[in-house]
Point group: D2
Chain length 337, copies 4
């Protein structure tokens, strides 16, 4: 049994995390923290948790967290994460960090994209990027895992097999990504106010979305070549789900069936990847930890389509995969079916 704290418990990734961990046979949630909602029962913040968990939101110090939990899931905003995480690690608490603070390897790149100096730069280079489908074997033994972004996972999972197999050119891959609104968080603002974004689709953050360097770093690692992407996120009027429609140039001759087989081979034995022949919709994977993907050849281009639930496979589900691997539990515990 592992005792677990969830830091930043009022957001959407936190509530999904709690639901998954309540199903986990080896976990006991011992603390949920929040700076704003001190002493509020967590079920008053998230009514879907009513009767399922009996904890109040607390504003805890690292020491208090360490007294209660062996592992902390850190669902804090970036910069807040890198402030508390070194203290937790020093106190012997293992951490799965759902923020972006430890994803990028280079502090300069972090500063460029996030606009803050990284205050824990030495740990940056050595932190494992927690994408278990690519390198599950690296995760055990580490006490800090950087959990991937939602657009990031979806894009990387779709492209990695074809890049690693040399099937597509690594440069100028176009990622046209579409996300449900929950990806924008639980803090009310005009752009995601219901009457503004309902019945509308639009692009945003063209050329400057922070998942761009993360996608490039991880894909470059995955294929050993410098990968560059044009990443365009869109906001779709639905709660959950990401669809990445990706356009690449073939690097060698291959049929559609060969490309599908390359995907299947790459993810052999991976319980959450489903290589499908049909065109997947986000609803096929909603509320699950699956990533469905397929590939099409058309007019001299390779199209890769991948879908995930942005809050599960894109955040809290993969966080539990990482947790399981850190703690030596079976990777899919609490996550299947």
């Amino acid at each position: 049994m592992t005792t677990v704290a969830i830091l930043g418990a009022t957001g959407y990734t936190a509530v999904e995390l709690i639901k998954i961990l309540l199903r986990h046979p080896h976990v006991k949630i011992t603390a949920v923290t929040s700076r704003q909602d001190d002493a509020t029962p967590i079920h008053a913040v998230h009514p879907s948790l009513y009767g399922r968990i009996n904890l109040n939101c607390e504003n805890l110090t690292p020491e208090q967290i360490a007294e209660r939990a062996q592992v902390a899931f850190c669902a804090l905003p970036h910069t807040a994460s890198m402030e508390i995480i070194p203290k937790l690690l020093a106190l012997g608490v293992k951490v799965v960090d759902l923020s972006a603070d430890y994803r990028l390897r280079d502090p300069g790149v972090y500063e460029t994209w996030y606009g803050h100096v990284h205050t824990d730069p030495t740990r940056l280079g050595s932190t494992i990027y927690g994408l278990p489908e690519l390198w599950a074997e690296k995760i055990p033994g580490h006490d800090l895992i950087a959990n991937p972004g939602c657009y990031t996972s979806t894009s990387i999972l779709g492209l990695a097999p074809l890049l690693a197999g040399g099937y597509i050119e690594p440069e100028n891959i176009i990622i046209d990504a579409k996300s449900g609104v929950s990806g924008a968080g639980r803090k009310p603002k005009l752009t995601i106010h219901y009457p503004e974004c309902n019945e509308s689709i639009s692009a945003y953050s063209i050329g400057n979305h922070r998942h761009t360097p993360e996608i490039e770093q991880v894909l470059s690692d995955a294929c050993g070549k410098q990968v560059s992407v044009i990443f365009t996120p869109h906001l779709v009027p639905m709660d959950r789900g990401i669809l990445a429609t990706m356009y690449a140039r073939p690097a060698k001759e291959a049929t559609e069936e060969q490309l599908l087989q390359a995907m299947r081979d790459y993810y052999q034995g991976k319980p959450f990847i489903r290589v499908v022949e049909h065109l997947p919709g986000t609803k096929d994977v909603a509320y699950t930890n699956f990533c469905d993907m397929t590939v099409r050849l058309t007019r001299g281009h390779v199209l890769v389509l991948a879908v995930t639930d942005n809050l599960i496979k894109g955040a809290s589900g993969v966080a539990v995969q990482n947790f399981n691997l850190m703690q030596g539990y079976e990777e899919s515990t609490g996550l299947l079916p």
Copy 2:
């Protein structure tokens, strides 16, 4: 030609008002005001207005408004309305007030339901409640019209014919009302944050919604008896529209067809009322100034169903009806089809 100012131009009723008035052959919009968005082009607030109107939001004094406009549509929050309106009237500006400040006749009732002392109580008793389908003839000659609430109009329009005709008992009428999210305004807050209210329906403000006394006052006027209602609003995951499902006890023997005919007779010649035989959906009237209604007899109860677009017939459309009647234009100018 009438010059018109729109006060509180950043909200959803304001943008609908602007769109209607841009189609109006006898109106020139000369000012749009806002306290927060001073000097912002109105099309930057509402991108749908791009290229259609060339005005900046301004923070104008009553005197400046009076210099530019003969009529002001006041789409300010309650209390802000009753602060500026006496000044505008004193300066000779006619006003259609879309707030609740002048709807109730009794300052004590206002204070009870709105929690503020009314600062213009003498005008309260004499202000005309602008529901043209009930008393269009009272509106000409007045320089202040209180524009009805959205739930209010929908409920009143459905019930008035049967109450006035003595077909239903005036007491304990149940109004189960359902509204799209735009009715909650343009200010972001958690309850109408997209991922909170999408894919969900819930009731709110049971027993204390401020449209309750307004419905009772106007229906009592309309039938000459004290009317009481149990009013329950619900939030529906859609942009626009109100459906009021209303349950009353019959006060005399009548067939469904007789009740329908009572509705048709009551609204004879009223261009925006459509008495229908089918069960109306809010989509039938979306983006129009129509109110569709029907009636059913079932198990000893009279059911009245009425639908409107909450921003048009429930706010800005009826405001233009009132404006037309005040100014001597044909009631439906700018509003049909």
Copy 3:
């Protein structure tokens, strides 16, 4: 371990049933039947099942079903159910019937509301109505359980405690119910075609919805008095969920807190009922087997509000509760959290 067949596997209740049963530690699904989709893999019908179940849809005889399964979940349309169920029972297969065929006690009432002569009338009177929160103890030992309707369960669960406790009058209870679109089934038709029902709410089947006699029969049983309801269903633009807003007259003096306590006491120890103080939204229970409910006193009326997921607690979740009780498994197996 119990072997299970799902009859009528292409609909929405079937896919939910499959998902729940895949999580059930004591169930093996051995057959999924369909008349139209013979030999199609079930995951081709429901892509969300891809990789999770390896069965083809088959058009099986009762004998073939009996060879493979100890229990059949019958998700067939009404009349098709009562045709096959006597044969299955004769072959020793236990049945949870999700259709309406065995819910009503009186064959005449069935004929009136469903327009068909009941071909298995003798079994009608003796079949247990499977609402475990009301009479879980009656279910074990039976080999046929009539699974309740979705509107029915939601309405009954909300009203039963107050009727049983004599807090509300049993006559003329108004049930204004709102349902997501999945309740209308998976067969395409114009009324639930996306562009017709999206962004719209409307009432339907006023005075003649088939859940009416079912609600009255079960509530009358629950309180020992003749209950009558005015039941008005509405279609809401969302996938899942039912909200029943119910209006009753108090039968005796009681505070809101006493009414809430009566609910809590009635459902003491029932794992899927959550009596809450806030106004519940359907999203709070979406994708779960919970029924959240509360009560309000306003203007001399008792308002009961109850929410469920129409496909889970309203169909497949309660079916598994019934199955568990029939088979002697713990009632909540496969269903929590």
Copy 4:
């Protein structure tokens, strides 16, 4: 005054057409035809038309149409259009054809993409493609205009200025297009059944969508070079709107501002094109005849974003533009604001 018939009046483009034409000062609708709904009032098919038009659907011969109407809007399926149109033209009825039958110049290309031999091939080469923003001057004097497809217009309008100005390479332009569900028509089918497509986004018809050759033909005409596109349509859970996100390679050095200016210059004086600086959402143009567009330079690529309402600017609005130009009315009559 022009008398007008609408052929195929039960679909979504027809109802939008009727609404626009009811606002048109020089049009009288004299016939609405349908093969299925003979003698049904058109408002029974489309309840939003209740009280606004008093015509029954009729199954009329070409001769009967010619007796009543000077112009026919043909909203029939492809192949049905080319069957009736030659007869109407022979009888002196002018036609705006909203189907695809006369859009492609080459009968062989038509046969390849539509799977039917074209039965009126000689007229194919000479029919004007009705995109008034590109060649309004060609339309007057013709008695048959091929109205563009919805994806087609949106894509072409966004790309034409930059192709015509030589700013982008004509080959391998990626068009990632997203459409609301009304674009799929009013005939119920599983893919656009509410619970299937709500809360989901997916791609469809990759590499074989029929708007592909149409986009290429018109853009090649517009810039005098062979244009090739990779066109990927997606279904978005909303009623209305198309967003085309388009990726091209620059053909010459230009700043973002120069590209925007090229767009503005190209559409100088065109009332329905709005070149904007922000990223447009489909809601900005919903229920209007506007096409909003902008351009971004990012990582060596030119991104063009264009939005329309698929039923108005993508179908019925542009049809009325074409009609106005054919008949010598001002192009925007009935369509602004």
